[in-house]
Symmetry: none
Subunit: 201 residues, 4 copies
DNA sequence: TATGAATGAGACTTCATTCAT
DNA sequence: AATGAATGAAGTCTCATTCAT
């Protein structure tokens, strides 16, 4: 049959990605059937293969794009920041923004690594590590400057990431706290974590 | 065809649970085929149904048992602690112990909720919430005693849980830090998080 | 793997129905395997599910269509008949025609009710009862007109139906009696059944 | 384990037969699982094979016993009858008695022939034919005596059997008609069927 | 581009049956 | 006798994928 009026390949592709993210978020990659994915965007399953080579590749590309976009947004956000303390605060802000605004992408970016082929896995976790290295670099720059004491930057950066990422598990846009308030709260928690306690502790 | 010498139902059931936890941990519930699970414990796939009613129920029971055991162990661990500060430190210790020693159980207990039926989901998340309430109760008791300042206990308890749970994502028993060192590190991070910053910050 | 030249959905569907009727007639619904049914029409078992949602629904739809067609044909056959005696003779003729020409459909329509889900059962037996009511209405109209004496129309209509339906158990198109002869014989039996015996009985 | 107190092999076997008849009656031989059959009589499926060699043989023996008992009862019932008209009335009485009192046995004896192996089929249909021959012999004796006119005894005997057997499809012990009334009604219908109509027909 | 028809692989599950205990 | 443990076969069904139209 001919293409329906008003449909464009690029639009359809975007719709497929969006629907897939939602389905994978809710039930996982394995539980997402291409038949229902096709139905989500008004296609039959056969037509889907005009857009995606196969399910596995599609997942890999999807996650790759998500991580690439994360990194790109991150770099844009950090462009004008140089001071370590400012950078740390900006990192927290960025991370919380992204992890609340793009909750589903973030979630599947974390969870569906296990569904990737080894090659895909290597490609995508490289991006994740790069993101983590950004945080660690900030921590180390701050330490060198004597801003805070970080005994074990490897652990602390992982701890901060876990702390921040946890937001996406429970955040609701219509919850009690605005995103700004939330950011302040987490910024202050992170700051305190890096602070030396007063006593001999 | 018949019962082989030495076969015992209870042992087999334990082996099935263990193998399932491992497979689900690595590739997810949907990706675990009963055929391979059976092979893991030296059975054919049909024999598995002498032990489990069906795959879905099996998952539900598995997660339920994990959460029940977590709560039981937790209560035993906290039996003799009463002071809020001690309780908080004991909580951190317990959580890190369990989340490093039983990493796989913990991981699937967090991740496979989405594969549960609505009834199973309700049952199991009830246990999760109970665990979280324990932490929150400690925080509130400490606040009432003036031990630390917690503006938003709901958020802070979730933050602490995320922080601690994150350990299971990267912890390796043969890593640089002993479990005891790790516990101390996280205990100090949690303490600082609850500490009021010195300056007007 | 793809669509072979000349494949047509409607033809295939018809072939599936026909093959299913034959298999169910010979060995019963439970004993009909979808694999062999598929093979009967030159498909693999998976392809069958392009045509039927599942085995149970398929049975229900099959029986429903059979009963619907029976009723439709019946109404067409009886359109121009009004006198009760003519109607009764037409009923016998129609019933024997249908039950010899469509022996297999009739048989499974009677026998596989027990394999239906409760909902399907209700739907399909409703049609059966409607058919039976037609006969009973004829009997009662004849009685009111004094054409024959029917003490217990409920029982007698069931008796006549059983009598006539029995034909399909042994009728062979190549048997001694033509269908026309058979019809005459049964018409006369039914007439006599409704006749008052001459003597004091 | 040892035999439970009070159980006897013969009792158990009877219980199995009874449960099987009921299950086959309701859902058919194929749909009867040995697991549930075992449960019906308080056994596990493995223990069933102390009583039955296998499912197929069991069915064959069950039907064979039913038909054998039918014939035995029949011969007892007809022992003192010699006049054809009395014999016909006695046949009707016997058939209706058996087909209402032992509805389930009768039903599966008719329906599950298709589930038999060829050897079993031959064995059991031989008994059915023998029963039918009894009726046909009565009809022919009556005809030779000029009691009634039967143009086609082969068809008429089948017709009478169908007529009578139909009772078991709807008869309920708590229905409006007593079994005696029912018998009278059917006896009179059969008589009329064999009666020559008065007019030129 | 989209669809309909088909496929092979593989999923979960049930079943009758066997046999050591 | 009865049970529990196991098996192989088979069943229904879903799925990703292919390709003629």
């Amino acid at each position: 049959m001919a293409r329906p009026v008003g449909a464009s390949g690029a639009d359809t592709m975007r719709a497929i990605r969006k629907a897939a993210i939602h389905r994978i978020y809710r039930h996982g990659y394995e539980a997402m059937s291409l038949r229902t994915l096709a139905a989500d965007v008004g296609l039959r399953v056969g037509s889907l293969h005009n857009y995606i080579p196969n399910k596995q590749e599609f997942l890999g590309n999807l996650l790759d794009e998500i991580m690439a976009e994360l990194l790109l947004d991150f770099e844009a956000h950090m462009a004008d920041v140089s001071e370590p303390r400012d950078a740390l605060m900006a990192f927290v802000e960025f991370h919380i923004d992204w992890h609340t605004a793009r909750k589903e992408e973030v979630f599947i970016g974390n969870m569906e690594l296990r569904s990737l082929s080894p090659e895909q896995y290597a490609r995508i976790t490289a991006r994740r590590k790069q993101y983590e290295r950004h945080l660690r670099a900030i921590l180390e720059r701050g330490r060198r400057k004597g801003l805070w004491r970080v005994e074990n930057p490897a652990v602390v950066s992982k701890a901060i990431l876990a702390l921040l990422t946890g937001v996406s598990n429970w955040y609701r846009p219509d919850g009690k706290l605005s995103r700004k308030q939330l950011t302040r709260l987490y910024q202050s928690m992170v700051e305190r974590m890096l602070h030396e306690p007063e006593g001999p502790g």
